[in-house]
């Protein structure tokens, strides 16, 4: 380590369509972050094309690394360890960050810390305020919808998750059906603030588990739009957005409420891209007030995929003794444990 009690971790994230590198001090202080987004490239295809994503990651990787070190005014010698998202995600995308991280660890003789993408989303919150345990992480993104209980740092227990589509995926699909451009999730969230709940949609999976299901809700919206079109009726986009969002969020908050009570949760954190949703933020705040638990939602810049959260999580993973060697492989699917 550079100075006593100071640990600078360089994080790399490339699990989907963002190439990102960040340097974080002691898991809590962001020094510099660079993100090369490919949103505009994939827009024309209506979603992320894995092969195209990989091709752009490899194009960007050294430029992003260089910019980040430059921004931090640091050299590789001053970095204490390399943290890398090894999964889950798109395998071809993950591999670019992974090979880059392994190469840097080898060349500069630094510890290599494997970080699960979801652990990254959770630890985005430690860049904002200290985590308190027992903690409930509500992970909501384009690829995930999960409730994770944490008894302490880096002690994860999955309570439940989606049985089919992720909530963010469902948002994007609904947006597509009503003609909004990819990525449509944030646009639905915006429309929902002006619409009214006029369309009747089914509340998914009202059961005793901590699981979710969004494919039924998604199909219900698609059928509703098609039926209305066939009848020659115009869809009120704002009202449909609101009707959809109310139901989607309610299915989350119902299970979150149950977990807070049953697991005696002190701190609820929301993580992942959908944490940027205004509708979800308001519903979670209301719930937190009602049950008197601390709520933390990271600022938008930490909600979408970024390497800052990976470097932050990497610090706690390191303290937990999680070090990998150069045989570390990418995993498109992997449980958070």
């Amino acid at each position: 380590m550079g100075k006593e009690n100071e640990m600078y971790i360089l994080g790399i994230e490339s699990s989907c369509d963002e190439t990102s590198v960040s340097i974080v001090k002691n898991g809590t202080e962001e020094i510099a972050t660079v993100i090369a987004s490919q949103i505009d490239i994939h827009k024309v295809f209506g979603g992320v094309v894995p092969e195209i994503a990989s091709r752009h990651h490899i194009k960007n990787i050294t430029i992003v690394l260089e910019e980040c070190l430059h921004k931090a005014n640091m050299t590789m010698e001053e970095i204490d360890a390399i943290a890398i998202t090894y999964g889950p995600g798109l395998i071809g995308s993950l591999l670019i960050g992974l090979e880059a991280a392994k190469t840097l660890a080898f060349i500069h003789n630094k510890p290599l810390i494997p970080v699960h993408h979801i652990a990254g989303h959770i630890y985005a919150n430690s860049l904002v305020k200290e985590l308190k345990f027992p903690l409930l992480a509500v992970v909501v993104s384009g690829g995930h919808t999960e409730l994770i209980e944490m008894s302490n740092h880096y002690k994860f227990k999955k309570l439940g998750g989606t049985l089919d589509d992720a909530i963010g995926e469902c948002y994007d699909k609904v947006a597509r059906v009503i003609g909004l451009e990819y990525p449509g999730g944030p646009k639905i969230d915006k429309l929902a603030t002006i619409g009214k709940k006029t369309y009747k949609l089914p509340v998914p999976l009202r059961d005793d588990s901590y699981n979710f299901s969004f494919s039924g809700l998604k199909s219900a919206v698609i059928n509703l739009v098609h039926n209305e079109e066939q009848r020659g009726n115009k869809i009120n986009k704002e009202n449909l957005a609101t009707s959809f969002q109310v139901v989607a969020i309610e299915s989350i908050t119902t299970k979150v409420k149950k977990a807070i009570i049953e697991k005696k949760i002190k701190n609820v954190i929301v993580a992942g891209g959908v944490a940027a949703s205004q509708g979800l933020k308001e519903a979670m705040q209301q719930l937190a007030n009602e049950l008197n638990v601390e709520l933390s939602i990271p600022p938008i810049k930490y909600c979408t995929d970024n390497a800052t959260m990976i470097a932050a999580a990497g610090y706690y993973a390191y303290l937990d003794g999680r070090i990998a060697d150069s045989t570390l492989n990418a995993k498109s699917q992997d449980k958070l444990i």
Binding site: I52, S54, T62, L65, L95, T103, I107, T327, A330
Partner: protein, 208 residues
């Protein structure tokens, strides 16, 4: 002068370190799906065996395609990050050039890599290794038309190619490859990218 050679464009990892024209250590290993786990590990072990550290390399020669997209990216990412991080000189060659040099016959050299669905990645070089047909993604029937115009040629393939009957399996002569390309002009690591020679399917469909 120490040169590091890396080729992960097929099922095999081919890597070597040469010192003043002599190979001091090398790897020729079929890794298949384990390429992402083991390629770098094998290279690390090669350095340990040679008692060398990465900064003691003066130049990297990396094969940047064509071939397996994922495979190419593994070798190119390692080489690119390595060269950027240590400011090491780096240059690229194609897998077809590497294959061409493994042949000593006094004929035309035709390296061919299976690209499925009746297509191959191929090029034609003469007996002095001069390019006659530039590397491309080409229909086998088209390539055959080009071949009908030349008389003596040798087909060189890099693995179990199913689209080509008479095959001459390729084992790289890394000493020869390194010697032949050691003075090739270096490029900036930022500009170093795979040579896929083929658009992605999504892009091809968009063009139709």
């Amino acid at each position: 002068m120490r040169i590091l050679y890396i080729d992960t464009s097929s099922n095999y990892l081919y890597s070597a370190i040469s010192q003043n024209g002599q190979i001091i250590t090398e790897i020729k290993k079929e890794l298949g799906h384990r390429l992402s786990e083991e390629a770098l590990q094998e290279i690390v072990l090669m350095f340990e065996k040679a008692k060398l550290r990465p900064h003691q390399i003066n130049k990297i020669i990396v094969v940047n395609g064509p071939g397996s997209f994922t495979g190419i990216r593994i070798g190119v990412t390692i080489a690119k990050v390595y060269a950027w991080s240590l400011n090491t000189k780096i240059t690229t060659i194609t897998s077809l050039e590497a294959m061409m040099l493994s042949s000593n016959k006094n004929t035309y050299h035709v390296p061919v890599i299976d690209a499925r669905r009746g297509y191959v990645f191929a090029a034609i070089y003469d007996n002095k290794y001069q390019e006659i047909l530039k590397p491309q993604h080409i229909k086998i029937t088209e390539l055959e038309k080009h071949l009908s115009k030349i008389n003596k040629y040798e087909i060189i393939t890099n693995n179990q190619i199913e689209t080509w009957p008479e095959k001459e399996t390729y084992i790289p002569n890394m000493k020869k490859i390194i010697e032949y390309f050691k003075d090739k002009e270096s490029i900036s690591p930022h500009a170093l990218n795979p040579e896929y020679l083929k658009l992605t399917e999504a892009e091809e469909n968009k063009l139709v």
